[in-house]
């Protein structure tokens, strides 16, 4: 019945178009291994005539003898079948191996069949990505790729995540992986619209990543975006709306309790109550006007995302074009992030031998007050600014500072509502990424490829900071920078199979990359009016300008060969020579790698019913890091103007800079060994991958303090060693698979042990006195024998019941470790008829967090005189000598102590989503669509943790691994509910 209606609707269209009279009709069913495929395209080649399959996979089409039917469906290989008079043509479509992760992208234009892979590579495909609404690409990897630890440091809108592949190698340098998008090397991972992504490969071991030489020591993330395919054009529309709230709040004292507590503390310090709380009438007024600042600062934040894409192609050419708009409100008021993006990927066969592919990505990001540091200030204000001070005074002006001023010290916090509403910090990024590649088929097995790319970004930041008290001055400024990364490469690729068993691929590449950055800033201090914001800095009493430029060039020659014999014995070898302009004498670095693999299951002697894949892999390789400043090695001078006439005239006075030159500076090298085992059972229905690795980074690029008698302050040197050892486990499978119901899962578990083996010379410890968020000291140190990111301080032993003082051990020691023992993810996809359910858990265990924010809210860290936390109810007094918190009058308390070190382990239901794919042809036809998916989802719905702060994951240390797990107050992760739909035409 449905079929008939369907036909009746389709036929008149054909008749309208019909200049061809068809003699016959053919029918059939299009299926894949698990059943019928509704919505598959059947087109007669060379015409616009076609149809789609119905809910049961049936089709019927009028044809002439000799016509070729082209049967296509997204995610499947397109098939062509010639009509020779058959009555029925049933088609079994094969899933496109690239999407099935059977083929792994390993870089420089090469893909490898999974069974021929020798290195450690994690792959996340588009199917995984589609299950939850993603703001940024890095979110897609969190918990989904083993060996990759992703940490959301801040809940600020649009904020990036910290990505670490198999631990941190470098102590002072960057540990962020290298990101390659469609061949464009070293791009910002969040400049890619997540909806455009086809697959992500993470090259974890050196045998895979060494071909990227420079910076590959931190792992390489290769992103491949979607391409068009031969067949009918497809239009897709997707949109979602989400509602977010803070995942948790801090329990605070009530206004009455706070007043009581503050008066008690002030009286003990000064014998007087706080002036504003010195009568019951005043106290009553304050209680009546009290404010819940957490409630005022946070809101239900709404995000909207719209995505439209077009793809299709013919034999000679294909296209993928997409546009995206994202508008994400921040959890804190007056904070926002927007992104507009446009991508176009076009491939064309210019001649039989010449192929052109182009990729263009235009992206604009706009942020409002979304700097994580600004957000941290609001988060801290929300809990630390006392609730008794109303937002406004009686005249309707802001109470910028607390009214609760006693004889103790002053508060450093400003009313967060004033700060949030009156500050104006904007940022905009306009980015163009383009690359073009020409491939010429020289000989049957030999290709020559030339490619070039550009990644240009214009970043404009403007800020306006209102005066937060009468004495303070307004500051405002604008800051523009341009980053221009260009690159080109020549590649010669040979690929051949001899005697059907010897498969050889060899590649030679020459490549040059250049990064040019320029910056300009203008800042003003002391404006007589707030009305001009940052738009007229010339009005400021004090104006400063600055500008700078930096350039780095990297030139490389690369060779790679892979060989396998009958897909049984696998060999990969690569060598790369890099020259970097940041070094003076010793610019070059050679990074080599090799790996071996053995597909035991392909051996004749191997005969197993259950074990379908058994593969052993092992690899060794070297990778490099040159990420120091472009002139860190140089002997530079600085200007320190001196006035020789006592104020009459100024004169340029040039003297040496603060950094001691180091002409011998050269590459930091990481040597990694990897051993892997792949096991597939029951025709690969269940797959297990085990990897063990050991990495050692030598000649670390460290910034050391030099003795000051050298006249300099510091120097960048090659010294020290860091080790990372660990394992990654991946298990995936199909638990249930039948006609109506399927259940797939994948789970991963990773463990990494980081250890500093040595530092400069005989030093055993460096970098005391690290600070976060400006000037808040962190107890983090780097010590030989310990991982990067440990805490050192006083060991808290409780409260002395006799006098209420804190009790500490005599000696300070290591009191915590911010590195987790394990990171893990567990992902499930179920489908029943049109419904699909995804739930995804992610977590870490065994890591410590320094909860400095708690020290603030219990009034201990010196920044606010009177704490606000509900914990203060249980403070030592002469009548409560067993209380867990020391007395308010305790004189010996320490912030850098184990009292504030907490277990940061957590298990989080990162995503749960329920979708329904409408397959009812009548309805689809009524709306003119081919398919429709509706879904509801929730992110971070449940977090199980013992951490007492807002969020165990947040950290104010940002990208700095030495400051991992330091929470001085940061915007929490949000709990988000999403409604979305995807339409396909």
């Amino acid at each position: 019945m449905k079929n008939k209606l369907f036909k009746n609707l389709i036929f008149p269209i054909f008749l309208c178009l019909g200049s061809v009279i068809y003699a016959q009709t053919v029918q059939g069913v299009v299926t894949d291994v698990s059943g019928p495929i509704p919505g598959a395209n059947i087109v007669i080649k060379g015409t616009t005539t076609g149809t789609v399959t119905d809910f049961d996979g049936n089709y019927e089409i009028a044809v002439n003898t000799g016509d070729v039917l082209v049967i296509s469906y997204i995610g499947y290989l397109t098939q062509e079948i010639k009509y020779t008079g058959q009555a029925t043509i049933n088609v079994l479509l094969q899933e496109d191996a690239a999407l099935l992760e059977e083929v792994v992208v390993v870089g420089y234009g090469k893909t490898v069949k999974k069974e021929d892979l020798t290195g450690a590579v994690s792959v996340v495909g588009s199917k995984e990505l589609e299950k939850s609404p993603l703001i940024n690409v890095d979110q897609a990897l969190q918990g989904r790729a083993s060996g990759v630890q992703i940490t959301q440091n801040s809940g600020a809108p649009g904020a990036g995540l910290k990505i670490r592949v198999r631990g941190s190698n470098s102590i002072t340098g960057s540990n962020s992986p290298l990101v390659v998008v469609d061949g464009l090397i070293d791009v910002d991972i969040n400049s890619v619209n997540p909806s455009d992504i086809q697959s992500i490969s993470v090259l974890k071991d050196a045998s895979s990543s060494a071909i990227y030489g420079n910076r590959a020591a931190n792992g390489v993330i290769i992103i491949t975006t979607k391409k068009g395919a031969d067949g009918k054009g497809i239009i897709e529309f997707g949109s979602y709306i989400s509602f977010s709230n803070p995942s948790s709040t801090i329990d605070l004292l009530s206004a009455a309790e706070f007043i009581d507590y503050a008066n008690t503390k002030n009286i003990s310090a000064t014998t007087n109550p706080i002036p504003v709380f010195d009568s019951q009438q005043k106290i009553n007024d304050f209680i009546a006007n009290s404010v819940d600042y957490q409630d005022e600062v946070y809101r239900t934040a709404i995000a909207q995302n719209y995505q439209m894409s077009f793809r299709g192609g013919s034999e000679k050419m294909n296209y993928y074009v997409s546009g995206n708009y994202l508008d994400q409100e921040g959890l804190a008021i007056n904070t926002n992030f927007k992104r507009y993006s446009l991508r176009s990927n076009i491939n064309a066969d210019l001649t039989d031998k010449l192929n052109l592919s182009t990729s263009l990505n235009l992206i604009r990001q706009e942020g409002l007050n979304n700097d994580p540091g600004f957000g941290a200030g609001l988060a801290l204000g929300a809990v630390g600014f006392d609730k008794t001070t109303p937002i406004y005074d009686v005249n309707g002006n802001y109470n910028r500072q607390t009214l609760v001023v006693g004889g103790v010290q002053e508060s450093v916090l400003t009313n967060p509502i004033f700060t949030a509403r009156e500050s104006n910090g904007t940022s905009s990024v306009n980015r163009v990424q383009a690359n073009v590649s020409l491939n010429y088929n020289l000989l049957e097995n030999l290709d020559f490829n030339v490619s070039g790319g550009i990644d240009y970004a214009n970043i404009a930041v403007a800020y306006f900071n209102p005066a937060n008290n009468d004495a303070a001055q307004i500051t405002a400024g604008q800051n523009t920078s341009n980053s221009n990364k260009t690159q080109y490469a020549f590649r010669l690729n040979y690929d051949n199979t001899f005697n059907e068993k010897h498969n050889l691929n060899a590649t030679a590449i020459f490549e040059e990359r250049k990064n040019l950055s320029t910056g300009f800033n203008a800042d003003g201090r002391g404006f007589y009016t707030a009305s001009t914001g940052f738009d007229n800095i010339g009005l400021a009493d004090t104006q400063t300008i600055g500008s700078g430029t930096s350039e780095r060039t990297l030139r490389s020659a690369i060779g790679r060969a892979t060989y396998n014999y009958d897909s049984r014995y696998l060999v990969t070898a690569s060598i790369r020579y890099d020259e970097s302009s940041v070094f003076i004498k010793d610019q070059g670095g050679v990074f080599s790698a090799f790996a071996l693999g053995w597909n035991i299951n392909n051996e004749d002697f191997f005969n197993s019913e259950t074990v379908s894949t058994l593969r052993l892999r092992g690899g060794w390789g070297e990778t490099g890091n040159e990420l120091i400043g472009t002139n860190d090695a140089l002997n530079l001078l600085r200007n320190n103007p001196w006035i020789p006439n006592g104020g009459a005239t100024g004169s340029t006075a040039i003297l040496p800079g603060t950094r001691l030159a180091n002409p011998d500076l050269t590459w930091e090298t990481t040597v990694q060994t990897n051993i892997g085992l792949d096991l597939g059972i029951l025709n690969d229905r269940f797959n297990l991958t085990l990897e063990y690795y050991s990495k050692k980074t030598e000649d670390l690029l460290l910034t050391r303090q030099v003795p000051r008698f050298t006249g300099r302050v510091d120097q960048v040197v090659n010294a020290g060693e860091v080790e990372n050892k660990g394992f990654d486990i991946n298990l995936s499978g199909r638990i249930v698979q039948n006609e109506n119901f399927s259940w797939d899962f994948s789970a991963n578990l990773s463990s990494n042990k980081n250890k500093v083996l040595s530092l400069i010379g005989d030093e055993t410890e460096v970098f005391p006195g690290l600070t976060v968020g400006g000037s808040i000291p962190a107890p983090s140190i780097v010590r030989v024998g310990e991982p990067i990111g440990v805490f050192y301080g006083f060991i808290y032993e409780g409260v002395n019941a006799a006098d209420g003082n804190a009790v500490y051990a005599a000696e300070q020691d290591i009191i915590g470790d911010a590195n987790p023992d394990f990171t893990f993810g567990f992902n499930n996809n179920m489908s029943y008829k049109g419904f699909d359910l995804n739930f995804f858990f992610q977590g870490v265990s065994g890591n410590d967090v320094f909860n400095r924010a708690r020290s603030l809210v219990i009034g201990r860290d010196g920044r606010i005189p009177f704490g606000t936390s509900a914990e203060l109810r249980n403070t030592w007094t002469t009548s409560n000598t067993s209380a867990p918190l020391p007395s308010l009058n305790a004189t010996n308390t320490q912030s850098q102590s184990s009292e504030f070190i907490e277990d940061g382990s957590f298990l989080r239901l990162k995503n749960i989503s329920l979708g329904y794919t409408l397959r009812d042809v009548n309805t689809l036809n009524a709306i003119g669509a081919e398919s429709l998916r509706l879904y509801v989802s929730a992110q971070n719905l449940i977090t199980i943790t013992n951490y007492s702060g807002l969020d165990p994951e947040v950290s104010n240390g940002g990208e700095n691994d030495r400051l991992a797990g330091v929470d001085i107050g940061a915007l929490p992760t949000s709990k988000t509910f999403t409604l979305g739909l995807n339409l396909k035409f």
Binding site: L636, G646, A661, T710
Partner: protein, 475 residues
């Protein structure tokens, strides 16, 4: 087949040409855009001028302007500080128990070495600069070299008198940070060599700025260096005569004279070298209004008002009565002895506008008097007594007919009270025990004395940061 091959060959040639035309094999250029790279500097007459000013810039802006940078002066008997948490860094020295982690003193060390680094960098490029000057510019270069040698000598003199033996860095070219300690002999030899060079190459009047080095500054400093090397620890007693000769050279120049009234020596803006002038200032550092008051004012009234720089009671009690005593001190209602605003200036926080006087003519006269008495062994040497009595008479004291060198040293203590010389004179004359013995019980009770700094080893501990990075600095 042959045709196919030639076609391929042609393609290969085109491709190779294309590739080769793009690829270059030179070393990659190092990024110096927007930076002043040392290798590209000292290339013009303007570079010589700004490079010379660079050596001054740390010295005058920061170093002597802020008393926090010279906590060791508190070890002397003319200073004490209020007790309290933010004065501990002075009190460490006041009590003779300095720590090698004292952050203020470390700041002073760091800045002095910045100047050495700047001077050495300039001197390292002498040959290069020599190659680009001729005519009048040659004089400029010689004078500039004189200024830089003078400044290096001045700073090493500060360093060796404060920390004792230190590394001796004379070129920045291959500094490693692992240099050993040098001997007093070698350090003073360099200082003397630098100052003799300066004396011979500087012009008699400052050029391009009244605070810049001239011949007399170098010669007056050299007199003090000779005097110092004649005492502890080197004890080259022959140098007393040299000290007297150099001081005499400056005195005979006729350029300097004692101001008739103490009110003319310092303390008000009008006494600045750049204002009405000052016949008594030999070495002075300019006031810098542009500086933030906190950093610039501590030497002057601010440090007094903040309780940084008070006066030890014994010192005050032993101070001879007269106009100079009234000029030098103020006493608060509570009996606290302050240095006076007349001598060190009214508070002008945030608007620092008074010179910092480093070496006054009065001190030079006393250097001469002591050196002459010691060199001749004659306590009645007429020229020595004239110099001493000129200072005494201006102070409202009577002239003396004979004086021991000890008398002259005490006279300098009174005349230079709260200024730059007292601690170094105590070290040089090995009188620490004597001075500590007469300390008032009130001060001893408030800030009892320890014994890290002693008469035999009065040297500040080299900052821990440097010692830990270079164990050779361990004494």
């Amino acid at each position: 087949m042959k045709r196919q091959l030639t076609s391929l060959a042609r393609k290969m040639v085109y491709l190779s040409l294309f590739v080769v035309s793009v690829i270059s094999c030179d070393d990659l250029a190092i990024d110096t855009q927007g930076e002043l790279a040392a290798e590209q500097f000292y290339n013009s007459v303007a570079d010589i001028q700004s490079g010379t000013l660079g050596v001054y810039s740390v010295l005058s802006d920061k170093l002597f302007a802020n008393s926090e940078n010279y906590c060791h002066f508190w070890a002397a008997d003319d200073r004490t500080a209020a007790t309290g948490s933010n004065k501990t860094f002075y009190l460490e020295y006041d009590q003779m128990t300095p720590l090698d982690t004292n952050p203020w003193q470390t700041n002073g060390w760091n800045q002095l070495w910045e100047i050495i680094g700047a001077a050495n960098t300039f001197l390292d490029n002498e040959e290069k600069m020599r190659g680009l000057v001729q005519g009048a510019d040659e004089e400029l270069l010689d004078r500039s070299l004189g200024e830089v040698h003078y400044l290096r000598g001045l700073i090493y003199f500060e360093l060796v008198r404060t920390w004792g033996t230190i590394p001796l860095i004379t070129s920045q070219a291959d500094v490693t940070g692992q240099e050993p300690l040098a001997s007093f002999e070698d350090i003073y030899a360099l200082i003397i060599e630098d100052l003799i060079f300066a004396k011979n190459n500087l012009s008699p009047t400052s050029v391009n700025g009244i605070y810049r080095a001239n011949k007399w500054m170098a010669q007056a400093l050299l007199a003090n260096v000779y005097l110092t090397t004649a005492g502890f620890p080197l004890k080259n007693e022959a140098n007393y005569a040299l000290a007297a000769a150099e001081a005499k050279g400056v005195m005979d120049s006729g350029i300097f004279a004692l101001e008739p009234s103490l009110n003319g020596i310092m303390g008000v803006q009008a006494n600045n070298l750049s204002e009405d002038g000052n016949t008594e200032a030999i070495i002075a550092f300019p006031a810098n209004i542009g500086l933030d008051g906190w950093n610039a004012g501590n030497y002057q009234a601010e440090s007094i008002l903040f309780g940084d720089k008070w006066v030890e009671i014994a010192f005050y009690n032993n101070f001879p009565e007269g106009t100079r005593k009234d000029f030098t001190f103020d006493i608060s209602d509570t009996g606290q002895i302050f240095y006076s605003m007349e001598k060190f200036g009214e508070q002008d926080f945030g608007n620092v506008n008074k010179d910092i006087n480093y070496l006054r003519y009065a001190e030079l006269l006393l250097i001469y008097a002591e050196a002459q008495i010691r060199a001749t062994g004659n306590n009645s040497d007429a020229s020595a007594l004239k110099a001493l009595n000129d200072v005494r008479e201006r102070a409202g004291l009577t002239a003396v007919a004979s004086a021991t060198w000890e008398d002259v040293v005490w006279e300098k203590a009174w005349e230079n009270a709260g200024e730059w010389s007292r601690w170094y004179d105590i070290i040089r004359t090995e009188t620490l025990d004597e001075v500590n013995a007469i300390r008032d019980p009130y001060d001893n009770n408030l800030t009892p004395l320890g014994n890290v700094l002693t008469e035999a080893f009065p040297w500040c501990p080299i900052p821990a940061n440097d010692v830990s990075a270079n164990p050779n600095l361990q004494k």
